[in-house]
Structures are given as C-alpha cells and as structure tokens.
C-alpha cells in the first residue's frame, strides 16, 4: 500500500500516546457525549478548539487527524445535501420537485456535518495513538463491570482483539488481490458505473474467501493450543490514573457538563 490505511496506529511518545488505553477510551466516550449534546455555535466552537488542542498534543499532524474526514468527504456532502433539501419542508426557500432547501435544513445539515467531523477526528486521534491490542485490552477493563450481569466480557474482548489483529492482514491481502486482478486486466479506475459494478466481484469474492480461510485456520490453531471459551485470560493491569490522566478526565467531563448545562 502506498498510503497507510486511515486510523492506523502510529507509534509515538506524545502525552496522548502515553495515556492508558482504558482512560483514553473513557475520555472518548465522554467526548462523544459532549459532541452529541452540543447545540449552539459556542458549544461547537469549544469542541473544535478542544479537538485542535488534542491534535496538537498528540503530535500526529493535521493530515493524519483529518484523513478519515478526507476519505469520507462524499459521504459528508451527501448527508449535508440531504438534510438541506429534505429536513424542513414547511417553509422552504424554493421547491423543485421533491427538493425543498430551507433554513432549518441548512442548520441541521451544518449541525450533523460538524458533529460527524468532530467524532471522526476524535476517534482518529484515539485509533492513531493507541496500539490495536492495547485498545482492546482497554475496552476489556472498561467492560469488566458488565460481568456482574453475566455478560461474557472475556469472550467479547477475545473477539475484539482477534478482529483487531486481523485488520492489517486483511488489508494486505486485499491489496495483493487487487494488484493481481489489475495485472489480469481488471479495471478499478474506470469512471463508468457499469464497469465499477463489474469490478466488485473479482475483489469481494477472493477477499471473503481469504478472510474465512484465515478465520478457520486461526480457530483450529487456537484450539490446538488449548484455547477454551471458559478460560480466564491474562489481563493487563492498567493501574491508577496519573496526574495528566486525571486532568484529561476532568477536562472532558467539564466539557460534557458545559454542553448540557449552558451552551
């Protein structure tokens, strides 16, 4: 791959990199709450400012932080246009067929676009600064309380960590398969819709087959090495939060409370 997949972990030594995974995920959840609660322009302004600081402190660069936004830009535009045209049909500016752009639609579109962008950026910072395996371990510790309700948290964690480890392999495999098909004359860059549709099969079928094959082999290998679903797994001990981590938790919580109460 010439280009790294979006959200791929990039090792580093920034303060955000050094935060414990479970605390990062916890902060991420609080921030998600804050983004969802945001209503006013000031609310969004504070969140944008905060995301800016986040990118600065994590030292991952604006490019990387915005990579998923760039990748999904068409998705964003479509969401925006849909909201603009269909949201408030009561008093539109003009009405052309089913399209009725209105002020309410515009505002709704902006709201949603900004929220999605904020979520993508924050999520990206989390993914890029945390190694996949550590991320799943962090989730596992956060899931622990669910054990009280007899939810199999270990198995969930195992599924997550296996899935995480699969992702790079699958990317590589998909890349290889794509190249092999291009060498056989398949065209993936054609502008014609019919060609695009036709190009899907030579990719999807082998990628799924490869994924199933890998899953099969892995499950055999795990069983051969004595994995049982009822077995306790070794767990990473994350320990108490450091000063900076307390600061992060408190800042995120204040942000969220501010969004609910005042802004």
């Amino acid at each position: 791959m010439n280009q790294l997949p979006t959200g791929m972990y990039q090792p580093g030594t920034s303060v955000v990199h050094q935060m414990k995974a479970n605390i990062k995920i916890f902060c991420f959840l609080i921030l998600t709450g804050a983004v969802l609660m945001a209503e006013t322009i000031w609310g969004y302004a504070v969140l944008v400012l905060f995301s800016g600081c986040l990118i600065y402190f994590s030292k991952i660069g604006l490019q990387t932080a915005l990579s998923s936004v760039r990748r999904l830009i068409w998705f964003l535009i479509i969401i925006f246009v849909m909201n603009l045209c269909f949201y408030g049909p009561e008093n539109p500016w003009i009405k052309i067929g089913i399209f009725a752009p209105s002020y309410e639609g515009l505002m709704q579109g902006v709201h949603i676009a900004v929220r999605v962008i904020l979520m993508m950026v924050i999520g990206n910072v989390l993914m890029v600064t945390t190694a996949p395996l550590v991320l799943t371990e962090g989730m596992e510790t956060l899931l622990l309380p669910l054990k009280l309700f007899r939810i199999p948290t270990e198995q969930i964690a195992m599924i997550l960590s296996v899935a995480m480890q699969f992702i790079p392999t699958l990317f590589e495999e998909a890349d290889m398969i794509k190249k092999a098909q291009i060498a056989r004359g398949a065209r993936f860059d054609s502008k014609k819709l019919l060609d695009k549709a036709g190009a899907v099969m030579p990719l999807v079928v082998p990628i799924f087959l490869a994924a199933f094959k890998r899953a099969d082999e892995l499950s055999l290998a795990m069983e051969a090495r004595g994995y049982r679903t009822d077995m306790a797994r070794g767990q990473r001990k994350f320990g108490m939060p450091t000063g900076f981590e307390w600061l992060a938790i408190i800042t995120c919580s204040i942000l969220c409370i501010l969004q609910i109460l005042c802004l």
């Binding site: 791959m1 010439n2 280009q3 790294l4 990039q10 090792p11 580093g12 495999e173 290889m176 398969i177 190249k179 092999a180 098909q181 291009i182 060498a183 056989r184 004359g185 398949a186 065209r187 099969m201 030579p202 999807v204 079928v205 082998p206 087959l209 490869a210």
Partner: protein, 284 residues
C-alpha cells in the same frame, strides 16, 4: 519486449513512521527471450521489484521502460501493459473468483475483444498446458480443487492471455516434486518459444537448472547480476551474504575441498555428473 529499470527507488508508506525503503537505485535490462532468476533473502525487495515492472507500483524516482517507453508516462497504454506482462503472484490461488474454471481462466481475455471461439481455444490451450483435461474441469467451480490445483488454474488464467513477459513470484514453493519439475519444464518451454521469463525463487537448484541469468538483491540494492554459471561460481561470497547456492555447486565445493579437481562453475546436476565421471575415469 525488453525491460529496463533505470535507477529505480521505491519507498513504502513514505513520510510516516512506517516508511521503509524497499528498493534503492536498481538498474538493469532484460532482453526479449531471456530467462532471469531473481534471488535474495526474505524482505529484500523482490516482490516490490516485480510489481514495479508490472506497473502495479510507481517508482519514487527513476524509470521502468518497456521497449524503451516509460510505463508510468501518462499516455502509456495500461491495458497494453497488462496484456503483454503476465504476473503470477506469490499465492495465485487467492485470485480465483468466478463460478466456473472456464470463466475464471477467460477473465483476462474479456477485455481483448476476441471472438468467442478464439477465447475458448485460448482457455483450452492454457488449461491443457497446465495439465488439466479441459472438458472435465471447464464447468467445475474453481473452489472445489486442492491448493496446488487451484494454483495451476490461476496460472492458466495468466497464460491464456499469451503474455510476452511472464513474471513468477515463488511459483514452485509448496508444489510436490513432480509438479515442480513439470512446471519448470513448462516454463522453460514457454521461454524457448520466445517468452521472456522473470522468476523469483529461493530454490537455487531450480534456477541453476533453468535460468540463464541471475539477479540477486540485498537490502533493496542490486547485489549480483550475471550469467547463472558465473554468479553461482562465487559460492563463498554468496553464502556469506545469506544466499544459498545449488546443491550441485555445494557438492562440487566439498569435492574440491577433499582435493579433487572439480571446476568452480559446476552448478547443475548435469555438470556434476560429468565432473564425477571424469574423476572416476581418471582414477581407473
């Protein structure tokens, strides 16, 4: 069709913490009809090299020329490139996807605008070449074959397009000895019919037997490029750099160590046999 690499550099994931310089300053030319073996330790950049030649990667700097034309020029015809250069990847069996063997083998022919009869005869020829009974396998799903058979079907799909250059990435790893020999003989036959062959292999015996020229990479750089006999003669230097030579060559070296008069350019079994017969005659 001649292939020229002119001081080619390639880096994966440039500008990120994962950046790795896979190829550094590679230059060589392969003339039409040559059989070139490519060797080197794992991770030295062999697969990267062939992907550059096949136009699947674009060099950071330097140029890849086919018949003197830069394949990364904007107005170079990509379809022409993919038609003339066939690539058998490290695990070609992964690329099968059609519902029947016949359709899969015909996949690359779809874009050529050939008549139905011509396509069918090309498919039949390619499958027969790979040792299948065309009538028996044409309607079967490619997925119901064994790993080795799948690989042969996938290779048939590449041969069906009758490429001028055939690039093979580790084609014989994992084949049984008979299948390996049969495959190498087939490749040699294609080569004798005028096809240019570039074959990556860790199997020095196979290359000693069949390739006329050896290119060796080391840490992304060109380490050796020359006639097979000469390259393998220099056994000590190769082994010092972690590159194995053919068994016949090693055997000759052992004999030489014990004081027998065995030439350094003994690289394949035929050579070795001749040398040993000569020694035997001398002792009588």
């Amino acid at each position: 069709m001649s292939i020229t690499l002119d001081s080619v550099f390639y880096t994966y994931a440039p500008g990120t913490p994962y950046a790795s310089a896979a190829l550094k300053n590679i230059s060589f030319t392969v003339e039409k009809g040559e059989f070139v073996g490519i060797m080197g330790k794992t991770g030295c950049g062999k697969s990267t090299l062939i992907q550059l030649i096949a136009g699947l990667l674009t060099p950071d700097s330097g140029a890849v020329l086919l018949d003197g034309k830069n394949i990364n020029d904007k107005n170079y015809d990509r379809n022409e490139l993919h038609r003339k250069v066939g690539v058998v990847f490290q695990h070609p069996e992964c690329q099968l996807f059609e519902t029947t063997v016949e359709r899969d083998v015909a996949f690359s022919l779809k874009h050529f605008g050939w008549s139905k009869e011509k396509v069918q005869s090309a498919v039949e020829r390619a499958l027969t070449m790979m040792g299948f009974d065309y009538e028996k396998v044409r309607e079967k799903s490619p997925l119901e074959f064994s790993g080795g058979e799948k690989r042969r079907i996938a290779i048939a799909g590449i041969l069906a397009a009758e490429p001028e250059v055939l690039i093979l990435d580790e084609p014989i790893a994992g084949l049984d000895p008979l299948g390996r020999e049969a495959f190498l003989v087939l490749v040699k036959r294609l080569n004798e019919a005028g096809m240019t062959i570039l074959m990556i292999s860790h199997n020095a015996d196979a290359l000693a037997e069949y390739a006329e020229r050896i290119v060796i990479l080391k840490d992304g750089m060109l380490f050796r490029d020359g006639v097979t006999r000469e390259v393998f003669s220099d056994m000590d230097e190769l082994q010092k750099n972690g590159i194995g030579v053919s068994e016949a060559r090693q055997c000759a070296a052992l004999l030489a160590e014990r004081g027998f008069d065995v030439a350094k350019d003994t690289i394949c079994y035929e050579d070795l046999l001749k040398q040993m017969i000569a020694i035997g005659r001398g002792q009588q």
